[in-house]
């Protein structure tokens, strides 16, 4: 294909391209929606343009940031990317790195998920930037995200601070015709200049570093007031009843709404840098307006930081909802109401008739479910058969959907499948009660944050069964490799670290590997593990339920030859639907009210894994 100057790109691809056009030579990441496409897109550009860049899937976000930080100290430009809750994991590094400062530009890309669509929280990385006292950029479109990357590196080097780029979901997963530039090749051989008083600063020096950082922030706020590429408004004549300060995707949305409605009397200040707040620019804009509506997401940052709030309307005044995504409809209605309130003109609210009509149709909801033939389903089913009344602690991944099989009771954060299991054990032990606890965790999650919890549980004498759902990939975020497969980010072989060795290293003696597709023996094994933990020391039993993800490892796994049929023996008891819920199984209503309903198999999606045969108590599912 010809080298075109404009390419249709996802926001995440544009960011990756921006990294390469800025001479970034080090990129580390832990996958997480909506950030996961950045590293693979960077890899494509690196290969396409034959660039010399180290990229890695790190084992977690803190590891990613620490690595990138060190690379920056050698003078190279470095970046790490993660989802917003990943920044919590990397918080320790970020807070400290802000004080120490950087040498080569260091960019932390933290992707927010207003909604939330696939996260535990709707937290705002811009608030994290304020907490850590580092500057943050907030793009509104893919093109702008790419342009910001270059400026982030410049700012990072000018002030020697790490910089956060915070694209939200609607920018990460937006697609736009993006203008390309050639990659930047910086001739910067790695050179670490020793300076222990800074790079290993003791608390006394940390105070000085903190004071230095504060000075940088004052200068940065001034710079941001003079950054018309990202922070701007069209000056207008006369006083406006209402002005808008908007950032990120809400800026793009509100601009379109005003243009399409032909409203020219409501000026917008577009803010691409929320922190440090460009106060001078904001005050100038505020002077020309009687009221100011702040549109930002997911949380309150600009609105919070504006000192004189007398004109300001937003979340703090109840004009903007405090949770949930700022969709086009929501922004439209906020605008409609606020314009009326401030006599700034009229904009009809969204007509809810269509929504109301469709909600009355009573369409069946599409609840997310594990794929047909997913090995997790077989594992969860077996666990629940072995111990129906256990406490099931679980974790973050596709397998959170074990909820549907009633085999997941808790999901807190990455690694909590194990740590909550030990917490539950000790809480019950106080009362002398024995409660069966079965923890589940995916392989990638275990490498991310399983070992610390497992070490702790062994050390402190907890007792529970841990089933590691080892499907050989990081499935939910798009099939990234893990240390267990040993493949590295670019597909080349790295050093494999088998789960078995890692778990043994944590002090566990009971380690069994089993294919969960073999349901009867899986059930027996879970029971055996449950017996074991009652008396053994240490009292932790680990089962590695190993079967490759059908999507990631399609070639090795398919085709299966266990084509099921439902015989006349089916009583329509729905046990297979409720406790197993393979999406290929569905209920056909009985004819003319006489026969009972029965189950059928949707051949279009059935993968012939044959696992359902173990589930039917009537033996009505046969393999042929």
């Amino acid at each position: 294909m010809k080298e075109d100057s404009r390419r249709l790109m996802l926001g995440n691809e544009a960011i990756a391209r921006g990294l390469m056009e800025s001479g970034c030579q080090f990129l580390s990441s832990y996958p997480g929606t909506p950030s996961s496409e950045i590293l693979p897109a960077a890899l494509k550009t690196i290969q396409e343009l034959n660039l010399n860049v180290h990229i890695e899937w790190s084992t977690n976000e803190k590891v990613a940031l620490d690595n990138a930080f060190a690379a920056s100290l050698t003078g190279k430009r470095a970046a790490c990317c993660m989802k917003q809750v990943g920044l919590n994991v990397a918080a320790d590094s970020l807070m400290s790195a802000a004080y120490l400062g950087v040498v080569g530009g260091l960019l932390v890309i933290s992707c927010d998920d207003p909604g939330p669509h696939s996260s535990q929280t709707e937290q705002d990385s811009r608030l994290f930037a304020r907490f850590a006292k580092v500057p943050v950029f907030d793009p509104a479109t893919p093109q702008e995200a790419k342009e910001m990357v270059a400026v982030c590196f410049e700012i990072s080097e000018k002030y020697q601070v790490p910089v956060i780029l915070r694209p939200a979901l609607r920018v990460c997963h937006a697609r736009e015709g993006v203008t390309l530039a050639p990659p930047l090749i910086l001739d910067r051989p790695a050179k670490f200049k020793k300076d222990p008083s800074r790079w290993a600063a003791t608390p006394r020096f940390r105070l000085l570093l903190h004071q230095e950082l504060n000075k940088k922030l004052i200068a940065l706020a001034e710079d941001f007031s003079n950054m018309p590429a990202f922070n701007f408004y069209e000056s207008q004549t006369g006083q406006a009843n209402l002005g808008i300060i908007a950032a990120g995707a809400p800026y793009a949305i509100v601009t379109d709404i005003l243009v399409e409605a032909g409203i020219e009397t409501v000026p917008i200040l577009k803010l691409g840098t929320a922190y440090p707040l460009p106060e001078r620019l904001i005050e100038r804009f505020k002077d020309g307006c009687d009221h100011i509506l702040v549109l930002e997401e997911p949380d309150t940052v600009i609105e919070l930081l504006i000192r004189d709030k007398s004109k300001v309307l937003g979340r703090l005044t109840g004009h903007v909802p405090s949770a949930g995504e700022m969709t086009t409809d929501i922004i439209h209605n906020i605008l409609s109401q606020t314009m009326a309130e401030t006599k700034a003109g009229t904009l009809a609210p969204v007509d809810p008739a269509g929504q109301e009509f469709v909600s009355k149709l009573g369409l069946p909801g599409r609840r997310p479910t594990l794929c047909p033939g997913c090995p997790h389903r077989a594992a969860f089913y077996s666990i629940r058969q072995a111990f129906p009344r256990a406490i099931f602690t679980s974790d973050i991944g596709c397998y959170t959907l074990g909820l549907n099989l009633k085999a997941v009771d808790t999901v807190l954060d990455m690694g909590a499948g194990i740590t909550m299991a030990s917490g539950f054990y000790h809480a019950h032990q106080l009362d002398g009660t024995e409660k069966m606890i079965v923890a589940t965790m995916g392989d990638s999650t275990f490498y991310h944050s399983g070992t610390t919890g497992l070490l702790n549980a062994v050390y402190n004498g907890s007792r529970f069964v841990l089933v590691i759902l080892d499907n050989g990939t990081t499935a939910m975020t798009g099939m990234q490799p893990t240390p267990g497969t040993g493949a590295m980010a670019d597909g080349s072989p790295g050093n494999r670290i088998p789960l078995e060795r890692l778990i043994a290293g944590c002090g566990v003696d009971f380690i069994k590997v089993h294919d969960p597709y073999d349901v009867p023996t899986m059930i027996d094994l879970v029971k055996e593990a449950g017996e074991y933990i009652k008396t053994a020391t240490p009292g932790i039993a680990v089962i590695i339920a190993r079967h490759p993800c059908l999507i990631a490892h399609r070639r090795e796994t398919a085709p299966f030859k266990n084509k099921p049929t439902v015989t006349a023996g089916c009583k329509g008891c729905k046990i297979c639907l409720e406790l197993f819920e393979c999406p290929a199984l569905y209920l056909v209503p009985g004819q003319d009210g006489t026969d009972s309903a029965r189950v059928e198999i949707d051949r279009k999606i059935c993968v012939s894994c044959g696992v359902c045969r173990f589930v039917c108590p009537e033996g009505a599912i046969e393999i042929n």
């Binding site: 249709l8 479109t141 997963h173 800026y251 949305i253 601009t255 409809d329 599409r366 794929c371 499935a475």
Partner: protein, 184 residues
């Protein structure tokens, strides 16, 4: 030619590929393109919605009653996403020949002046051994129904450019069968 299009279906049907083909074609024509996609949490079978806006837009999102066109790869997602379609909008839906709308739905479409075209893409795919190209059949139909801001021949050109060799012929045929079905 400004156009807002909603493409809907379920995971695995190739919604994003359709969006890319139209978007890339528009881009090749020198038009401005913005798009956005939403996936459910499930890898397979969850709802997928993709927005495509061609023209002078900043935002990639589409609000209620704002889309000119709704293209859906199944009837359930068509109904679910109907509120996006503006009055007098156009819908292109993959559904069996002779598909009967629920009466209240037919009334709604009439009341809002919405024109709906049914493309029996699943049947066509089976008939012509094009399983997996249902999306391109529907796209071919949409293209000749004037649902898209670019010409069918230009989209076909893009499809040729980006599909790997072994899939090219199938994709082209699927697109043409869709176009033919829509013209009948």
């Amino acid at each position: 030619m400004d156009r807002k299009i909603v493409l809907a279906g379920v995971g695995g049907q190739g919604i994003i590929f359709m969006t890319r083909m139209v978007g890339q074609t528009a881009l090749n024509m020198g038009l401005n393109v913005m798009g956005s996609e939403t996936h459910g949490m499930a890898q397979r079978g969850g709802s997928v919605i993709s927005f495509l806006k061609v023209g002078n837009y900043r935002s990639a999102q589409i609000g209620t009653a704002a889309a000119d066109v709704l293209i859906s790869l199944n009837d359930m997602e068509f109904m679910r996403n109907l509120p996006y379609l503006k009055p007098a909008g156009l819908a292109v839906v993959n559904a069996p020949t002779g598909y009967r709308l629920r009466p209240e739905l037919a009334d709604y479409l009439t009341a809002n002046g919405i024109e709906m075209h049914v493309v029996p893409a699943d049947a066509l795919a089976t008939e012509h051994r094009l399983r997996g190209a249902v999306n391109l059949i529907v796209l071919g139909a949409a293209a000749v129904l004037n649902a898209l801001p670019v010409a069918a021949s230009d989209i076909l050109e893009t499809i040729k450019q980006v599909t790997p060799h072994r899939l090219r012929e199938g994709n082209e045929t699927a697109f043409s069968w869709g176009a033919r079905a829509a013209m009948e």
